[in-house]
Symmetry: C2
Subunit: 337 residues, 2 copies
């Protein structure tokens, strides 16, 4: 945690700082042989739309919070990702959504878990951060709060897609999930189970923000809460270090406090954002008992340095750097091009 | 996070390691003038009971997880603390409970939020850690999981005490809570609003565990989730660093990831447990916007070194150290005796 708030850069310089944004659309067994050309093209287009939407906000002088919300809402509205419209089914054939957001300038944060009727959970996370005295709200309570504000409510059916219904049915017809510590034990390719989305943005004032939004895991039950709505696990932002959004096997990410651990390795260990993110994702998580924590993160520091490490075969990801260059990647091999 | 699990000390030495336990019963405006002699004696007796219960488990060869659960269940069963039987009321005149637990040897963890019918939430947190593939469960889902296990269910009325009902009524008759960022704005002395309980134990195998259990804040609404059930905020344990349980203004503790931050300052910053805990509670939290984060923590490392810093006038606290000495304190001045 930063002891001192970052200086207000706009007060020091007339020229705005260079802006940047990085996003992910989930990590998992994403391999060329598992995806058709049409599917791949659809993902690349959706990633581009999210990046362009967020980057436009930043170049227009919007805040990093504005940009994170704008980018993630396009991904929540897409049926491709496990968030909003494309979210996975629970064991009760409903959709329950989690999200969180954090402001690196103020260390304010907002989060929610288990909402069923909010079209864009990341927008509600922002409202909780800005318009309530709380950081986190759960279930119908979070929806009660939303009712007093301008939030789009939808029927739970709005989120139902045939693809996700089929996945849930396949999961139920497979072996007992109680024993399913192995990500593949339920027979669903995990590129279809994962798909949490996240964004980290750096605005003209030099402020970082990070956000994450998800439907959780296919066929989830018992009100399971993953890392996405947990500040410090799935999301963290501090101008003094970095902004982080995670995706992966959430239980491991909570136990390792992944997002805050990356920030802490920068602050107390003197690491760069790339070194800190790589160490946590590639070295620490795989060694955790019993099976290792699979997944990845996006992270960016206040100078716009970006890291996108993942220990799965692929991660939907992309960024627009401070030089304006846009990069969109899905497979691991692309990082070596 | 530790990269390597702590060595199994029992395999190296025939003599068991010295054991220790530290507990808290909440931090706040606890001053001699606010408490009658009878009340003070009742708190000291309840703290002693919890310490003796937990310490007996440890000297009998029980695990640190066993000891944390045993100690905290006595506090959940007491009407004095804001956990279990003595928990505060929500805005809807119900009681909703949160708890979490973490094993410093395996980094396994269990947590729950918003349960209404579980007599001992800390025991359910342990079941979630040990008997499910998840770390965190919310609301009725957590209770559905509990039904498949040996857990004591109670009517919500079991938790109702006249003292807490009066506090909730006073809170409602005071000014609008929406504007009540100030802890005193609702007219309730905050020694009565706080009262979260927690424990950290070190067992004969040299393993640490930490747990926290609470009713949250008086008159809470919107399914508010505080820091107590958040791994990394209210609770963390890692044999390589320390075990931590927090109590205080939960929103600040989440934003600063207090429990994990103390661990990270030891691991990456080379601090002792006392230095790390003191820095976070006395230096970092008070500087946070807008009002500073009030509260405290208990923390212990794997050598049995104990820290109990708090930035409020008092904190119900106590420990039995590795030398077997029991200490019980309420007010700040006692630390200077």
């Amino acid at each position: 945690m930063s002891l001192v708030l970052a200086p207000d850069v706009t007060a020091q310089a007339d020229t705005p700082q260079p802006v940047a944004i990085v996003i992910h659309g989930g990590a998992g067994t994403i391999l060329p042989e598992n995806i058709t050309d049409e599917q791949e093209q659809a993902y690349r287009t959706a990633l581009r739309t999210a990046l362009e939407t967020g980057h436009d906000v930043l170049t227009d002088g919007g805040s990093s919070i504005d940009a994170v919300v704008a980018a993630l809402q396009t991904m929540e509205d897409s049926p491709l990702f496990n968030a909003g419209k494309g979210a996975v089914f629970t064991s009760e054939n409903t959709v329950e959504l989690d999200a969180s957001i954090m402001d690196g300038h103020t260390l304010n944060a907002g989060a929610l878990t288990g909402v069923k009727h909010i079209k864009n959970p990341i927008g509600l996370a922002r409202l909780i951060m800005e318009e309530s005295e709380h950081v986190m709200m759960a279930g119908t309570g979070a929806e009660d709060f939303a009712r007093a504000h301008e939030v789009s409510f939808v029927e739970n059916e709005y989120f139902y897609t045939e693809r996700r219904r089929r996945q849930a049915e396949e999961a139920r017809s497979s072996n007992d999930r109680d024993d399913a510590r192995d990500a593949d034990a339920d027979g669903i390719p995990d590129y279809d189970k994962l798909g949490t989305v996240g964004a980290v943005a750096l605005d003209q004032d030099g402020d970082l923000a990070a956000g994450t939004t998800t439907g959780g895991t296919t066929n989830k039950r018992f009100g399971r809460v993953g890392d996405s709505p947990i500040i410090g696990a799935g999301t963290y932002a501090d101008n003094a270090t970095c902004g982080v959004s995670a995706t992966g096997h959430g239980e491991y990410f909570i136990r390792a406090a992944v997002a805050h651990e990356i920030s802490a390795r920068m602050e107390h260990g003197g690491m760069s954002v790339q070194e800190a993110a790589r160490t946590v994702i590639m070295d620490e998580l795989p060694q955790m008992e019993p099976d290792g924590g699979s997944g990845g993160v996006i992270a960016m520091d206040a100078q716009g340095n970006i890291a996108m490490p993942f220990n799965t075969p692929g991660m939907y990801r992309g960024y627009v750097g401070t030089d304006g260059t846009m990069v969109i990647r899905i497979y691991r091999a692309e990082d070596e091009e």
